[in-house]
């Protein structure tokens, strides 16, 4: 599918002859040209944002460092650095969990969302119920349910397929994602003007053809921002898996703290993890905002 920007975005530079708009128009024009060359929006992480980040880090570690020096212990930064490789592996595991549950949840959610616009009342109603049920359930409770209800291995054809906790966690987290994606799909479909359905019908398209060729391609653009937003939320929720014992970054952090037996490591360590999540999720949030602005201009 082609995703095209609104014509006003690119045309603003040359088009306006209002003197007040000229400098801004020129800037916007240059920016949109750059982004077109890149083929992707440029992240405008400003110096201010980075400064805040660094300040956070320095405050966390600096404070603890001062205390460590006073007590004559090994500097915090050295102790922290020793654990970075291990913790970072844990963080990557969080990302893997988030990507896989997002993928699973999206596939299930799209199916569920399409069932919600079915013409058959039983299908429509049951999918509506499932969507509402999982959308209004606490994520942690769903996670617990999956961890304790799913078997630890599956026996099929004489083989034992192990079913580790992290896979259960992926399934558990994908349930709320599924419900939210289902609502995103339903909302996007309903936001398409009824004239599109009428036009397709009058051209003898049947319902399936209308949905797949006319309606859904127009929905993709509208679904992208809320879908990415959901992904950022899910990524931050992956640390819930530590409660059920999956060795992701928070579980590892707890183990590190237990091994180090020093309390002054606690704040810098969790601070570092916070920063990692921020660095990963913030660009997604910015990109989402950018897409929302870009698509807000109607044709």
């Amino acid at each position: 599918m082609m995703v095209r920007g609104p014509k006003g975005h690119a045309g603003l530079g040359g088009g306006t002859d209002l003197p007040v708009l000229l400098p801004a128009a020129e800037r916007l024009q240059r920016r949109s040209e750059r982004e077109r060359l890149l083929g992707a929006p440029r992240l405008r992480l400003r110096g201010r944002d980075l400064a805040w980040l660094c300040l956070m880090l320095i405050c966390f570690t600096g404070y603890a460092e001062a205390q460590a020096a006073a007590a004559g212990r090994e500097p915090i930064s050295i102790a922290l650095l020793r654990w970075v490789p291990l913790l970072f592996q844990g963080f990557v595991f969080n990302i893997v969990i988030s990507v896989l549950s997002m993928a699973l949840g999206t596939v299930l959610g799209v199916v569920l969302g399409l069932m919600q616009i079915s013409l058959l009342p039983p299908i429509r109603f049951s999918s509506w119920f499932v969507t509402q049920f999982f959308r209004n359930a606490p994520w942690l409770v769903l996670l617990f349910y999956c961890i304790f209800l799913l078997p630890f291995e599956i026996r099929a054809f004489g083989m034992r397929i192990p079913f580790p906790d992290w896979i259960k966690a992926i399934i558990g987290l994908s349930l709320p994602v599924m419900a939210n994606v289902s609502e995103i799909v339903r909302g996007a479909v309903r936001s398409i003007p009824s004239g599109q359905w009428e036009a397709a019908e009058s051209l003898a398209f049947n319902r399936n053809q209308t949905i797949w060729k006319i309606i859904l391609p127009q929905c993709v653009k509208r679904m992208l921002p809320p879908w990415m937003n959901l992904y950022a939320i899910l990524t931050m929720a992956t640390v819930l898996a530590s409660i059920v014992g999956v060795s992701e970054v928070m579980t590892l952090a707890r183990r590190v703290l237990a091994a180090e037996v020093r309390n002054d490591l606690l704040i810098p360590l969790y601070g570092m993890i916070l920063v990692w999540f921020f660095v990963y999720c913030y660009p997604i949030a910015r990109l989402t905002q950018w897409l929302e602005r870009r698509y807000a201009v109607k044709l």
């Binding site: 609104p6 009428e198 036009a199 051209l203 003898a204 053809q209 060729k213 391609p217 127009q218 044709l299």
Partner: protein
Amino acid sequence: MSAAWSESDPIVDIRDVHKSFGPVQVLAGVSLSMPMRSTACIIGPSGSGKSTLLRCINALVPIEKGSIKVRGIEVNDPKVDILNLRRRVGMVFQQYNLFPHKTALQNVMMAPITVLKQDRAEVEERARRLLRKVRLEGKEDAYPGELSGGQQQRVAIARSLAMSPEVMLFDEVTAALDPETVKEVLITIRELAEEGMTCLLVTHEMGFAREVADHIYFTDRGLIVEHGPPKEFFSNPRDPRTREFLGQIL
């Protein structure tokens, strides 16, 4: 396609059609018949059921009572092959309703390829010819958002024509356009009518109706109050409601 239908019979034959939306009766026994290659205009105050009547003809809106036959096909028959009916009846809307994610050319090509499973190359050639016919040569690769209202409406006309319909329905197609672009759309419709396409228009363009129509129908409160050839209808309206309406408009 009933075997009983021949070209001398009316291609659109509407008898005593009733339709309500909830408690509001929109059509209260409308009858109308169009011979092949004729052009008819439906005029009347807003809310008098004109658009609903058009939507009934290609089964976008189901009717409650009466009969609508297009080329001998009973639209209201539950067993009717809707695809077979709709490919014979083209419809153009007030709001154009082009598919915004497709270019002008793709908009025209889509239905014949998807619905009629026709050969892509052959459809593309015909689509280009149709866009030329509505004077949009060079706009094939433009997206609807890049076209003016009048251009979009002409793409919509070409899109309907691509299905090779036998009847064209126009639902206030110039109502959303600015005055300068109204003309280019009307010229396109007039050419179609002159080529022998059966056209049924709902319109507020009285001058145009007078010029192109073979027959004018005036509706009010779900009924056809008066109808006749344009000369007679406009110069000598008999019904007081028609006179009042024409007095307000002309």
